[in-house]
């Protein structure tokens, strides 16, 4: 009896030890998985930084940041035409922000008004039908939008322009921006929807109690209360527009023009990265390395937008808790 109890005690303690080792190993695996996301960020920062530093050893960083001329060639012979490539990123940034601004002028009114209608006016049934329909727009691959922009919208805008005597490039910023705006509508609408839904009902009731109509309550009470959430959403959408690639590769141009004219062809940071890296490239020419410098620039710009947006949204959440 005594020995049996002791044997079983030894047995369970051994089982417990095995169990403990397994759990320790499992925990190690879990921690390892959780660090993958961190490692990815570190990998992004280091690979961009490292390749960019190699680029800046060939092209001064001031030329890159403040140069007004972008024509990325590296000469094979010294007497070649255009032998000295110029790597001024300003026209690319200007093009990127021009297209993003057009996209936001399309997306913000449509997205915000849709969100207001869906969250404040629509009946439950209408909302259950309309919201998923709107979200189809977000589920369409961007390459389809690019195709649509390049083959349908751009010729349409060009023909409309020639109808009224305007000379519009078939790779106009307007076509790419407008289609990008359509893509971003559900993004803005769903983030604004969340912000509007987070406004406490007591504010709504107070507005009605003071005799305001529903529209007045929305405009003067609910929208101001939801504004931080909405502007956070708009910043996130902006970051998305800046980083959008397929639409601009297909519908925007490749010539770097420094212009604010939405009817002209402009190019963007993302479109240039794609153009620089497709095809056969040597890995250490300034031309290839400039893609990483552009990538670093893009990463930093979107990071600023994202951090600002997340901070605004976070601060706003605490307000009503």
């Amino acid at each position: 009896m005594n020995t049996l109890a002791r044997a079983s005690f030894i047995g369970t303690s051994r089982a417990r030890r095995v169990q403990k080792n397994i759990e320790r190993a499992a925990m190690a695996v879990l921690i390892l998985c959780a660090t993958v996301a961190i490692l990815t960020t570190i990998g992004i920062v280091f690979s961009l930084l490292f390749e960019s530093l190699r680029f800046f050893s060939q092209v001064p960083i001031t030329d890159f940041l403040f140069g007004l001329n972008w024509s990325p060639q590296t000469a094979m012979r010294s007497d070649q035409v255009g032998a000295s490539g110029s790597f001024g990123a300003v026209p690319l940034l200007a093009g990127t922000f021009l297209i993003s601004a057009i996209a936001m002028t399309v997306a913000v009114p449509f997205g915000l008004l849709s969100a207001i209608y869906l969250s404040e006016y629509a009946s439950r049934r209408a909302r259950d039908i309309l919201k998923p329909l709107l979200e189809i727009l977000a589920g369409i691959p961007t390459v389809v939008y690019g195709f649509f922009a390049a083959l349908v919208v751009a010729p349409m805008i060009r023909d409309a322009g020639s109808g009224v005597g305007l000379d519009i490039s078939s790779e106009s910023a307007l076509a790419a921006g407008a289609v990008m705006g359509i893509m971003i509508i559900p993004f803005i609408s769903s983030l604004s929807d969340d912000a509007l839904a987070a406004v406490p009902d007591s504010l709504r009731q107070a507005g009605y109690g003071l005799g305001a109509t529903q529209a007045e309550t929305i405009r003067q009470v609910i929208l101001p209360a939801a504004l931080p959430g909405i502007s956070g959403g708009i910043l996130l959408a902006m970051s998305r527009a800046v980083g959008e690639t397929m639409i601009v590769v297909m519908a925007a141009g490749l010539a770097a023009n420094l212009t604010a004219n939405p009817l002209a062809a402009v190019t963007t940071v993302t479109a240039q990265i794609v153009a620089l890296l497709t095809g056969d490239q040597e890995f250490d020419s300034a031309k290839t390395l400039s893609a990483f410098a552009l990538g670093l620039l893009l990463f930093l710009i979107t990071l600023v937008f994202n951090v600002a947006a997340l901070r605004i949204v976070r601060k706003y959440r605490q307000q009503y808790d």
Partner: protein, 344 residues
């Protein structure tokens, strides 16, 4: 007395008028909101319709009917019926001869060459496959349908404008007259383009298909899923269930939210510099593509998995712990299965 009454009356009239205006603006505001949704859905419908109405033509392919003389002297002069011999024969010549016989008045070299362009270069292989499948065809004359070339196919589909000068379009006036003749004799037919689903890319549009691209997409997705799903779910489990609430887990949280908003092209650059540059993995392989996609989708999976884990009531975990389960057992035997069930 009457004065104040009058003033009150005037006020209420003013209020009534302003009320009407306020109700009008209410209606307007509501209408604008509805119009915004309708417009957004209108864009969607327009996009789907315009792509659908342009794209559906790719599912059709024009075929040309020819009288092919499977000449034994050309295909198998020795009469061996050896597949190696049969597959080396000049089937292109058979196609050309059939076309020549059909249009005997086409004489000049240039015209003949453009006549030969009626049939796709895949036509000779279609004939070869027929002969290999049924050698008894040799020596007979049969009516055969062959794939038309891309230019003729586009002309048949109405995608080549015929009212512009000859040198501004892909097919010449002569070719159009041959096309019309073939068409009036019932020798042109539009069929379902099954080759579109069974072949890879090609320089000849009529022979191109999406199979290779589809397989590549499938492989990339497979790699992506095999990597991102377990890593994403396990890191969600760690962050939601085990991670101590401190600065480090705060940083991880912010990091994941930021990573979710990093542009996809930056992930591409990471793949180029790290996976191809540092680790020397093979270029253009679905392995590299899938891994980069996995890193890109990881934050989304983590956020979604955390949300569904958070939705499992903590009482379940407490109950399991109370019954003597270890932390690990409580999480993996009770919380994770329930969270997974919620997700599906």
């Amino acid at each position: 007395m009457t004065d104040t009454a009058n003033r009150a009356y005037g006020n209420s009239e003013k209020i009534a008028a302003s009320l009407a205006a306020r109700h009008r603006s209410e209606k307007w505001f509501r209408g604008i909101g509805f119009a915004a949704i309708v417009a957004a859905l209108g864009f969607l419908a327009f996009m789907i319709l315009s792509i659908g109405s342009t794209g559906y033509k790719a599912f059709q392919q024009t075929y040309v009917q020819l009288e092919i003389n499977f000449d034994a002297d050309v295909i198998d002069p020795e009469g061996t019926r050896d597949p190696a011999v049969l597959s080396r024969a000049n089937y292109q010549g058979l196609v050309r001869k059939a076309l020549r016989d059909m249009f005997p008045d086409v004489k000049s070299r240039r015209d003949r060459r453009s006549l030969n362009d009626t049939v796709s270069s895949v036509g000779q292989f279609e004939l070869m496959d027929m002969v290999l499948a049924d050698p008894s065809l040799i020596g007979t004359t049969r009516t055969v349908w062959l794939t038309a070339s891309d230019d003729f196919d586009m002309a048949m589909k109405g995608s080549i404008p015929l009212d512009v000068p000859q040198d501004e379009r892909r097919i010449s006036d002569k070719q159009i007259s041959w096309l019309d003749k073939l068409n009036s004799e019932g020798r042109l037919e539009s069929r379902f383009n099954s080759r579109f689903f069974t072949s890879g890319d090609s320089r000849e549009p009529e022979q191109a298909g999406i199979l290779a691209a589809l397989v590549g997409t499938g492989f990339s997705l497979l790699v992506c899923f095999a990597f991102a799903f377990p890593v994403g779910v396990l890191s969600a489990v760690y962050l939601e269930m085990f991670a101590p609430r401190n600065r480090i887990s705060d940083i991880i949280e912010i990091n994941i939210n930021n990573l979710a908003a990093v542009p996809s092209i930056v992930f591409g650059l990471l793949g180029l510099a790290m996976l191809l540059g540092v680790f020397g993995m093979p270029r253009s392989s679905p392995l590299v593509g899938g891994m980069v996609l996995a890193l890109m989708t990881l934050p989304t999976i983590i956020v979604a998995a955390r949300a569904s884990l958070k939705a499992v009531p903590p009482s379940l975990r407490d109950a399991a712990l109370g019954l003597g389960a270890s932390e690990m057992q409580a999480v993996f035997h009770h919380v994770v299965p329930l969270g997974a069930a919620r997700e599906c």
